[in-house]
Amino acid sequence: MTNNIVEKSAREINKMFLNKEISAKEIVEAFYKKIKLAEPSISALNSLTEDLAFKQAEVLDKSISKGEKLSPIAGVPVIVKDVMCVKGYPATCSSKILESFIAPYESTATGKLWEAGAICLAKSNMDEFAMGSSTENSAFKKTKNPWNLNTVPGGSSGGSAASVAALEAPISLGTDTGGSVRQPAGFCGVVGLKPTYGRVSRFGLIAFASSLDQVGPFARNVYDTALVLQYISGYDPKDSTSLDIEVPDYTGKLNSDTIKGKKIGLVKELMGDGIDAEVRKSIEKSVQIFKDLGAEIVEVSLPNVKYAVPIYYIVATAEASSNLARYDGVKYGYRTGGAKEILPMYMSTRQEGFGQEVKRRIMLGTYALSSGYYDAYYKKAQQVRKLVTQDFLNSFEKVDLLISPTCPTTAFEFGAKVEDPLSMYLSDIATIPASLAGLPAISLPCGFDSKKLPIGLQIIAPALGEELLLDASYAFEGVCKFENKVPVLV
């Protein structure tokens, strides 16, 4: 019975656990066994949280033996992106500068999961400080795409996406700033959701770009995605930007019929030049699936979406340059050796502690905020950001949801874009617009290209439209049956 536990969904694992078909300890052991097998191939994880996992399992097993009522996520193992704080464990952001940092507090989102009985297995690899689209910017290791070990898993939440695709856990947490959940979900053939900005507390999420960062789940099916969202959502007095709005019953109300009669807009600007032909074809097939499900499909234009990438690289880098100023060698984390004065200490610490891409973005952001440039860059970018948001508001007057590819291409090979940051930045062209507008968006596996690499379909909903987004995804999944497709690690 426990042999194939790692192939089960979160929902099934929970059911087996609640039915006492398997103990929490056995679940944890099975997944660590799987991790030990898979890690040499994919390198998705930075560290294991074994002490915590077995302690949590022990509590769960005691609770169940006492007949206590446990939650629908109890006993479900989770992998957490190394940008989120799990109390007492490293939170490195895959950066040398935080290599030695042990989080002295718990992030709200993970704390809610543990409270509900989920089990923390490991911390996953990522692009340093969540800056990147391939996880190649990690200071520690290269995570491989389980579908093809020569290709990247996407990023920045590459470790979280790859680990779920490779059955190291049924669900994981990532963070999405400009597509860092959706793009790797697309590359790794799993479901990845970025909730509405403010739906999930950012407390304990180590900031990259505060006005864009949002925690989001990875899973291999829509129900499990909804399940995680259910537990991590909600107002947090420790995060002033979290929304004080009641959390709907995401899992209980999942309904594949809602989509009937709904209008879905296909974003014209994200189906043209620069989108790989095979990707486009797969999206067209998905459009047909939605038509068959009873939805009406119309073409929608978001005229300002062409500015989204440049705007993003001003706003996000500006905020990052400020958020990362605290890593200076004074209080915690890496400090250079031998510096005698404060200025050389700062400079060498940051020079040695940060990787190339992080330094590039700090420079870009510092420049954009500098006296004399602020109006031309940061202020202008914020103004155009409002136009992009307005484009979405306009289109949602006509349609209920928007769809597009998640990424212009499928997973690329290692090194393909490292030397060309601009082309790397453009791989987020389809995900960035929803981030700028703070809208919920999901990436669903919708097919494979000729290289047998997964293709991602993105659905975007109006603010706080997670219910409809999940219903549409649930209906799509019912037809596409992607849940059954898992990579075979060679």
């Binding site: 989120m84 704080c85 939170a91 952001c93 935080l98 940092f101 989080a103 002295p104 507090y105 992030s107 950012r202 407390f203 304990g204 999420l205 180590i206 900031a207 770009a209 505060s210 006005s211 007095p237 420790k238 995060d239 002033s240 930007t241 500006a318 905020e319 340059s321 400020s322 100023a325 605290r326 200076d328 004074v330 209080k331 915690y332 004065e341 404060i342 700062y346 510092t366 905020l369 500098s370 006296s371 602020y374 940061y378």
Partner: protein, 485 residues
């Protein structure tokens, strides 16, 4: 300022005053705001700006900023936001300070000093930084090592920025002192310059008299007392006028005042000035301030020193100087008003508070509210005097301290110590007669009209009665004696 400078240049001064607010907790976390703890004991992940934490605004800080704004006649913004002011320094754990840049909470107020109106440009809220302790040098640069204490980090501050409306060191001091009085009355700030709970930065420039454009200004920091404020302004006027006199140009820069030399020295030039790269704080949402809240806060603004100053003179008939002494400390003013409300003569009550009571407080370095005396007890004492039960000397020497220290009731002290005046004429007559007979020389002088000598006789009578003789009766008896002899 030399006479020559005075006729040549006009001094232009604006003050930026930082006031630490007396909230229970810090501005963005729940750490307590208190001083004198061991280093880094009042610090949590939020005020230390650790990875992944977020600021949460303390509403009390906003209320205090609004209260101050209302007291200074400012417009209160309906909506304002916070911004990040960015620079690297080890006492600033995030390497940015959460402050307010282009949308401060209060705008366009004013403060009157001796009939002159000083405009207040703005008041904004921000967080304080920590403190550095250097070894081997008094600055970060050149020290063997430096230690940092983050206890002060995140202490709420308001910065009150005046317009360049002051024209002398005296006006600057008057403005700062008046402002401190208001902050203390509002009970939002201790206003202690020495301990840094109130800090003044002085912007100063000179211009030829008659000129309407401003000269290049300097900003002087590290002014830790009102005396230093005057000295710093005077020394900066002297320095700038010397440069201008010799045909030089003033460099726009930040300077530090050195209390030991009484001079200012350059800290950093305009070229070295930070580019603070302000931008809106994305971790906090814009602040909406309702009219209802403003109204609620307005009701908590007490009668302010300048309002009391006018009222005391008009209503109680006090002199300006007496008024100033009474209102300098809010507790003293409140005590005084309570005494008057209980029926004491306003003038006499003021004299006692300003005179012997203030002297006692100063000598013992204490405050009127820390003493045991209640307003009622002072009223009792004044009544005992008025009714001739005790005389002035006895009240001061025998009764007052006993009340201040132990809070003993006036009647009890009088009874216990047997302090009632001797008003028995026949008893006093014997004593007066004796004194006069023993001092024929003085008697002669008094008879010749040397009224001063009368005091000698009264004094002798007091001495013989341990100060209990009623001076009025003694005087009457002396008169009778003179007439009859």
């Amino acid at each position: 300022m030399s006479a020559a400078t005075q006729t040549k240049y006009e001094v232009v001064i604006g003050l930026e005053v930082h006031a630490q607010l007396k909230t229970k907790t810090k501005i963005f976390c729940s750490c307590p705001v208190n001083f004198g703890n061991d280093p880094n004991m009042n610090a949590c992940p939020v005020c230390l700006g650790m990875p992944g934490v977020l600021p949460v605004l303390n509403k009390q800080v906003v209320a205090y900023a609004i209260k101050t704004g209302l007291a200074l006649g400012c417009q209160i913004a309906k909506r304002c936001k916070f911004d990040r002011k960015q620079y690297f320094y080890p006492d600033l754990p995030k390497n940015y300070q959460i402050s307010q840049y282009d949308e401060p909470i209060c705008l366009n107020g004013s403060l009157d000093i001796n009939g002159k109106r000083i405009a207040i440009q703005r008041i904004h809220m921000e967080e304080d930084a920590g403190k550095l302790v250097h070894a081997g040098s008094d600055r970060l640069h050149g020290s063997d090592y430096s230690l940092v204490d983050y206890n002060r980090t995140g202490t709420p501050l308001i910065e009150i920025v005046s317009m360049p409306d002051m024209r002398s060191a005296e006006e600057a001091r008057e403005y700062a002192q008046t402002l401190r009085g208001i902050l203390r009355y509002l009970d939002v700030c201790d206003g202690n310059l020495e301990e840094g709970s109130m800090r003044c930065d002085v912007n100063l420039s000179l211009r030829p008299i008659g000129s309407t454009t401003f000269g290049t200004r300097t900003e002087t920091k590290n002014v830790n007392s009102f005396k230093s404020l005057v000295r710093a302004v005077e020394s900066e006027i002297e320095r700038q006028s010397e440069i201008l006199d010799s045909g030089g140009r003033i460099v726009q820069e930040t300077r530090l005042f050195d209390e030991n030399t009484g001079k200012t020295f350059s800290m950093r030039s305009k070229e070295e000035a930070h580019d603070y790269r302000y931008f809106p704080e994305p971790d906090l949402v814009p602040l909406e301030i309702s009219q209802a809240w403003i109204k609620e806060i307005k009701e908590t603004v007490p009668e302010l020193p300048h309002e009391k100053k006018t009222r005391y003179q008009e209503e109680y008939g006090l002199s300006l100087d007496d008024t100033k002494v009474l209102i300098d400390d809010k507790n003293m003013a409140e005590f005084y008003e309570a005494v008057v409300r209980l029926g004491a003569n306003a003038k006499k009550a003021a004299n006692w508070l300003i005179g012997p009571i203030t002297a006692y407080l100063k000598e013992n370095k204490t405050d009127i509210i820390d003493c045991c005396m209640t307003p009622k007890q002072l009223v009792d004492l004044l009544k005992a005097l008025e009714n001739g039960i005790v005389n002035d000397n006895t009240a001061k020497a025998e009764i007052l301290e006993e009340i201040l220290v132990n809070g003993t009731e006036v009647e009890e002290i009088i009874n216990k110590k047997g302090l009632s005046q001797i008003t028995d004429e026949s008893a006093l007559k014997t004593i007066v007669k004796e004194i006069i007979e023993q001092n024929p020389e003085q008697l002669k002088q008094l008879k010749e009209g040397k009224e001063k000598v009368r005091g000698f006789f009264v004094g002798q009578a007091m001495k013989k009665t341990n100060g209990k003789a009623s001076p009025a009766i003694v005087n009457k008896l002396i008169d009778e004696f003179l007439k009859s002899s």
